[in-house]
Point group: C3
Chain length 202, copies 3
Amino acid sequence: MFYFIIDILGTIAFAISGVLVAIDKKLDLFGVFIIAFVTSVGGGTLRDLLIGNTPVLWLRDPVYLYTIFGTVVFAVAFRARLKYIRKSLFLFDTIGIGLYTMVGIERGIAVGLSSIMCIGLGTITACFGGVIRDILCNEIPVIFRREIYATACIFGGVGYFLLRRLPFDDAYAFMAGIIIVIGIRLIAVRFKIALPSIYKTT
Amino acid sequence: MFYFIIDILGTIAFAISGVLVAIDKKLDLFGVFIIAFVTSVGGGTLRDLLIGNTPVLWLRDPVYLYTIFGTVVFAVAFRARLKYIRKSLFLFDTIGIGLYTMVGIERGIAVGLSSIMCIGLGTITACFGGVIRDILCNEIPVIFRREIYATACIFGGVGYFLLRRLPFDDAYAFMAGIIIVIGIRLIAVRFKIALPSIYKTT
Amino acid sequence: MFYFIIDILGTIAFAISGVLVAIDKKLDLFGVFIIAFVTSVGGGTLRDLLIGNTPVLWLRDPVYLYTIFGTVVFAVAFRARLKYIRKSLFLFDTIGIGLYTMVGIERGIAVGLSSIMCIGLGTITACFGGVIRDILCNEIPVIFRREIYATACIFGGVGYFLLRRLPFDDAYAFMAGIIIVIGIRLIAVRFKIALPSIYKTT
């Protein structure tokens, strides 16, 4: 139940981030909905395709479609006021990538992948919805250009696999993984920490 | 046989729409062929991937490859005159999305998806070839920006599932679904009906 | 063992080509790695998805991930000197598409596809990593616009299926296929041969 609520909050946060980008691009209502949808479920869909877990999750569980549909209706209706909830959005989004990372890792474990591939799968689950959103909107994906984002997912995944070796219940490692992702992202954004640049400043 | 002819006409119409966009972008012959190909089969391919129906259809049935190849040769040879058949093209394309919508819905039913997911799958089948075409050509997908297109597919799908409940043969509902898609699209284009805009006119 | 070495060389060449494009676009370290990764494994991944061979290859065999990771570290560290090995890169890349074409064809044969579809699958394996790279970097894919590239793969595939009919071991036809791809590409680049243009020179 707890996971379910976070999952839904993450779905909503991703959907709203999609709506914001789509409105920025002046897409019509259908376009806004599709962008919100792929932002929310794109990462999980790519994960399911890569491991052969088909039909993909959102085709089997309508809760995602309904949640995103409701979010889009709400977000478009109150689009003038979305900026006031930007901080809450950032928090949902951050919680969302934490949870999505761990969900992706669990799926990887379930099909017998190695730890490192599970971490990759978790990162894909968390990050590639945003990548597909940016491609559809004709932008170079934002996560390739700035901030600690995918890196937080990778560290969370590594932390999870290290903590799993301790003699505790796996659920603790799972929660710790989520917390590591969220913590790194919050700290990175708060203190403006980015990956070391490989370009000369001009 | 009747369905097969419409399927081929739809394939041809989509392929020509791909050729037109690709020529506009000054792609070379190989590029033109690939764009025509993905425009024609991209929607069905994404559908097959999402439901796990692999190898995807066009790998198993060469008729699509041959049809598209022939269409590209023809369209490139007569590229100067393509504008004269623009109206026929529009009609083929409209018939094509009607049929593709219903084909996608049937596939969804075959793997046991809920009605609403079947409608989504039908819409993907009809519309995402054009989306992939636009992404490959570095454009924001046109169906996110204007006209009734995907919306017609959704209404056709809803109509089909409502009519299926009546005590007639399913084939009538199938035909009715195609006709609804075509009808809505024709009416929308004829009377310039678009989705309500969510932007202020400037 | 011989194939394995060529496979790794091809992976390295594709990864470096990804690094070059990503640096050109000023992506951050994570972005550079992802672009290198998709350039290397994107074609094979799309092939595996289309035929339903999941989990896709790189999830099952970590050698690709490690090779690409090492290549990116190396390429970024020596990025100022990458231009001096451009010729070797071109050679690796050309050997890479030769091998990837034949690997894709073998996979197609393994799932019982027709010869023409196997050739298509081989061409996808060889060429679509670069296509996905260009899409992620917001460019119209370069192979749609110039040079003999995919065309060499297609000819290599046709050559392979013709030679297989001769009463020799298939391994010879396999090698011949690779050599045809490499030969056509080298000759085309050396003598600046391109596909016939369908546009008026302006």
